[in-house]
């Protein structure tokens, strides 16, 4: 049984005051998330990540298409007892303390008092909120509110956890803790479905990712497959190559950056690497290293978005790269 399955999921929002016109937020999304995996939904702002999560959590309704969670229809209320959800930029009740809010969340899941208290204690401690449990939430920092949000999403010991931008508002330490927590949840056999635009988090955590842009699925696959798609660029570092050689090398390189005596070249085409090395040997320059750089999730993401990675700052370039000759 799949954890999440969507079929041609489409959502139109109607915008405008007098003449309402549809704006497509999600366009025929087909996803299959296996149980026990960490699945990342990536995309820039406005890509449809939050809309997807809101449809799955029945906060908005799809215009067309269907979705199932844990094999059940979305409007099956009992199914939601097996699911946890952290909204994006969460806000909880100012007048409640963390303990009271967690208690309320536990009551809504129908947990008995003793069990509720046991889970509250465990989760607040696990998220580093044990000492702040009796403080009103209005006194919490953004990062602490985020932690409470994660804690309430786990109060029912869910099989499937939806986290909308879980690292938002957290400091580096907090991010590390949440990363560890997600990995622990995976070890416990839970399915994690989270949206993020922080690619490094996805790279560390996800078994599979889906990339959305303007409501459309741009790509979906296992992280291992994506990251072994091939060499994105070959990095060649030389020592004191000389002006003459550099002039010739610029025909094959994307960027040339000098740091002290060393010059770092990026050769985009694998077929040009041999030519570059032959030139270096002919000029009897010293090769420090030749390093094939594999495609990162960021490269993959940028490729799916239809953009190319940015070149390094030109100020550091030995000679300003000639735009007409680049990539030839």
């Amino acid at each position: 049984m799949l954890a999440v399955e969507t079929s041609d999921l489409t959502k139109d929002y109607y915008v405008g005051f007098f003449r309402k016109r549809p704006r497509r937020a999600l366009d025929g999304l087909n996803l299959r998330v296996e149980r026990g995996e960490v699945f990342g939904l990536l995309g820039p702002n406005g890509a449809g990540k939050t809309t997807t999560l809101k449809i799955l959590l029945r906060l908005v309704f799809p215009t067309s298409g269907t979705a199932r969670i844990l094999g059940r229809e979305l409007d099956d209320v009992a199914m939601h007892a097996r699911v946890g959800y952290l909204p994006e930029n969460p806000y909880f009740y100012d007048h409640l303390t963390a303990q009271e809010f967690m208690n309320y969340a536990g009551e809504l899941f129908g947990l008995r008092s003793a069990e509720r208290q046991r889970r509250i204690n465990r989760l607040l401690e696990r998220l580093g909120l044990g000492a702040s449990r009796d403080l009103p939430l209005r006194k919490f920092s953004k990062g602490m509110v985020q932690r409470v949000g994660i804690a309430q999403a786990l109060i029912n010991d869910p099989e499937l956890v939806f986290l909308d931008e879980p690292m938002s508002g957290l400091d580096p330490l907090g991010r590390r803790e949440v990363r560890d927590l997600i990995l622990e949840l995976k070890e416990e056999g839970k399915t994690i479905f989270f949206s993020t635009h922080i690619l490094s988090d996805a790279e560390v955590l996800c078994d599979r990712v889906a990339i959305l842009n303007r409501g459309r699925l741009q790509g979906c696959g296992e992280l291992g497959e994506i990251l072994s798609l091939g060499v994105a660029v070959t990095e060649v570092v030389l020592e004191n190559p000389g002006e003459e050689l550099l002039k010739e090398l610029r025909l094959y390189t994307r960027s040339v950056v000098q740091t002290g005596e060393r010059v770092r070249l990026e050769v985009p085409a694998e077929s040009d690497v041999a030519r570059v090395l032959a030139l270096v040997v002919r000029h009897t320059a010293k090769i420090v290293s030749v390093n094939p750089v594999k495609m990162s999730l960021e490269d993959y993401f940028m490729a799916q978005m239809g953009a190319t990675p940015e070149a390094p700052p030109s100020r550091e370039a030995v000679n300003a790269p000639d735009p007409e000759r680049r990539g030839k």
Binding site: L57, V77, A81, P90, Y91, E107, L108
Partner: protein, 258 residues
């Protein structure tokens, strides 16, 4: 049912932590104190003045609480997005609405009880004793509560579709019109026009009718409240309140939280 109770108790807790509530209670109790003063300078009608002013205070301040807390009941949850974490749990939207409604009713019940206790304290101070006949005041208080239940229903309904300011305006307008609905119907009958008569009759049945809930003057003058009014007002409040809460549920069932 357990979830409705949880939401109701949470709403009650939220309401009693609102500072405005305490201000209103203090004002109401001060007004009752003032009623003693007014009574003491009104020779022979001290008790009539006290009952009139006391019950009016309970009614007016209860109305203010019902409107000011009611209009934010659902709107605040939507605006602050706290509703996301509630509705993503195994909670039906209908349970959420009913829980919110019951929570505010509980708040108003407790506040009205406090104000009624204050009223009886004022009455005891004036008369130096209390009699069984003074229990008639409770009938008027019960009718005020029924009225407040309808006002909360209106505020809750508008809270699901509009902003607090507009909700307050709509609720207050309907409250005023509801107090005049018998007059509107009478006006229609007096015009002699069949169309106007039918239109005002439709309005009379469609809009909430608060006129029959106001028995303050009768109670103040020691008149007995007919038993049928107790039943008809209870049934009317139950039916109309159910319609209002159902309408709020229907609106929220269709609402998207973008």
């Amino acid at each position: 049912m357990r979830r409705v109770v949880s939401i109701a108790l949470h709403t009650f807790k939220e309401s009693v932590r609102e500072r405005v509530l305490y201000n209103l209670i203090v004002f109401a109790l001060l007004l009752m104190g003032a009623a003693i003063l007014f009574g003491s300078i009104s020779v022979g009608i001290e008790q009539i003045i006290l009952v009139n002013l006391g019950l009016s205070s309970i009614s007016v301040f209860g109305l203010l609480m019902a409107i000011f807390i009611g209009i934010g009941l659902v709107w605040k949850e939507i605006e602050r997005r706290s509703i996301y974490s509630i509705l993503s749990k195994p909670v039906r939207r209908a349970e959420f609405v009913v829980g919110k409604y019951c929570g505010l009713l509980l708040t108003l019940l407790v506040n009205t009880a406090i104000m009624t206790a204050g009223f009886y304290a004022a009455l005891f101070y004036q008369k130096r004793s209390l009699s069984v006949a003074d229990l008639a005041v409770l009938e008027a208080v019960y009718f005020i509560l029924l009225q407040l239940a309808l006002v909360v229903g209106l505020a809750l309904f508008f809270s699901c579709i509009s902003t607090p300011i507009l909700s307050a305006v709509f609720t207050l307008c309907l409250y005023i019109i509801g107090n005049l609905s018998a007059d509107i119907r009478w006006f229609g009958q007096e015009t002699g026009s069949a169309v106007v008569e039918k239109a005002t009759a439709v309005l009379y049945y469609l809009l909430p009718n608060f006129g029959d809930f106001n028995v303050i003057a009768q109670v103040a003058h020691g008149e007995k409240i007919p038993a049928y009014l107790l039943y008809s007002n209870s049934l009317y409040a139950l039916l109309y309140g159910t319609i209002l809460v159902s309408a709020a549920i229907l609106v929220l069932e269709e609402r998207e939280f973008r």
